[in-house]
């Protein structure tokens, strides 16, 4: 299967609401924050459209067994990383995942009554 990664023109990019392009004048080529210029992957777009059509916008539930095992297989195949799929939890984005990780590990947490900083 061939994946064609085409990007829209700069004018179309400046129509986007995201911070990468909308913050600059129309003649500026933006290469700042990690927004892709590529279009959304069709299966992802389809899933989002489907959810919106059904107004299926509630809180997320914990990761399903099929999602967890899918990710574990992907990690083993692509990243050569063995993941215990019982430990997989979902996070809304990478930064929140890092914050939760720090909380769980107590890294940098200031303990009450401690004189050390």
């Amino acid at each position: 299967m061939t994946i064609v990664l085409a990007v829209a023109g700069i004018q179309a990019m400046h129509q986007r609401a995201g911070a990468k392009w909308s913050a600059y004048d129309a003649d500026v080529l933006s290469a700042t924050i990690a927004e892709m210029d590529f279009p959304l992957a069709p299966p992802v777009a389809e899933a989002l459209r489907d959810a919106i059509d059904r107004a299926d916008l509630g809180y997320p539930k914990p990761a399903t067994p099929s999602l967890r095992s899918s990710f574990a297989r992907f990690a083993a195949r692509r990243l050569n990383w063995t993941v215990d799929d019982e430990q997989i939890v979902l996070a809304p984005d990478v930064m929140i995942g890092l914050v939760e990780l720090r909380r769980a590990r107590g890294v940098g947490a200031r303990r009450r009554g401690s004189t050390r900083r």
Binding site: A6, V7, I10, K20, Y24, V28, S30, T32, I33, A34
Partner: protein, 249 residues
């Protein structure tokens, strides 16, 4: 804020910015990632930060340092002449002054040279933590063609700033002897910088409208004060400031 997203001209000038470049175009990459003299230029920039004389380009030690050094060293080992520096090192010294002018004229939070001269928006390395100091972030989640375009724009920005600095340097050598006080030197630099920008606008920037003389134009444009109040920009696309602000630098 927009201005914080991009490296300031000062960072570029002092050699603090070493663009990390991913490109399929070797020529553009070579142009941007500086060259064999970059390390020398950085050394010169460090000397320059300690304070350097505009005219002789020799570092000027602080008075306390000078006195201490004299007392602690025998006469035969006291430093006399500095070894000559390469052209690139000299240019680096000039660049920091251009950058200072840039700040003086356009305010401290002015957009970076990459954005102003090259019309390419980059991430400022410091925004991603202290290890990012001296780097810019280039997002390459785009097509190879657009990435090459971004790098070309970076190269043009570097070339524009360098050309300006060389121009300033030439004029300084000619007029430097007459300009005594450092204040007058900076004033002269500012004039030269402004003239050179006006004389040769970079080809990729839209040409400013031709200046129109006459009473009608003057009436429509309004007074200097009113242009400052309206936040208008000058022909070289810099904010118009009260003269007193610049004269102080």
């Amino acid at each position: 804020m927009l201005a914080d997203e991009v490296p300031r001209a000062a960072d570029l000038a002092r050699g603090h910015v070493h663009p990390m470049v991913v490109t399929a175009d070797p020529a553009a990459r070579d142009l941007v990632t500086a060259d064999a003299g970059a390390a020398r230029a950085r050394g010169a920039a460090r000397r320059d930060r300690r304070g350097g004389c505009v005219r002789t380009r020799r570092p000027v030690a602080r008075r306390a340092d000078r006195a201490t050094r004299r007392q602690s060293r025998p006469a035969w080992s006291r430093p006399r002449a500095q070894p000559p520096r390469g052209r690139l090192a000299t240019a680096a010294g000039d660049l920091s002054r251009v950058a200072r002018l840039d700040r003086a004229r356009a305010g401290r939070r002015t957009g970076g040279a990459f954005l102003a001269k090259g019309r390419v928006a980059l991430g400022r390395g410091l925004d991603y933590g202290a290890p990012g100091a001296g780097n810019v972030r280039v997002n390459f989640a785009t097509s190879p063609e657009r990435l090459s375009g971004a790098v070309s724009r970076m190269a043009r920005a570097v070339a524009a700033v360098t050309t300006l600095a060389e121009h300033v340097h030439r004029r300084l050598r000619v007029g430097g002897r007459r300009l005594g006080a450092s204040r007058r030197v900076s004033h002269g630099l500012e004039q030269v910088a402004r003239d050179s920008v006006r004389a040769q606008p970079p080809p990729w920037e839209p040409r400013p409208p031709q200046a129109r003389g006459g009473a009608e134009h003057q009436r429509r444009r309004g007074s200097h004060t009113s242009r400052v109040a309206r936040g208008e920009r000058s022909v070289d696309n810099l904010p118009i400031r009260n003269q007193a602000v610049n004269a102080d630098r």
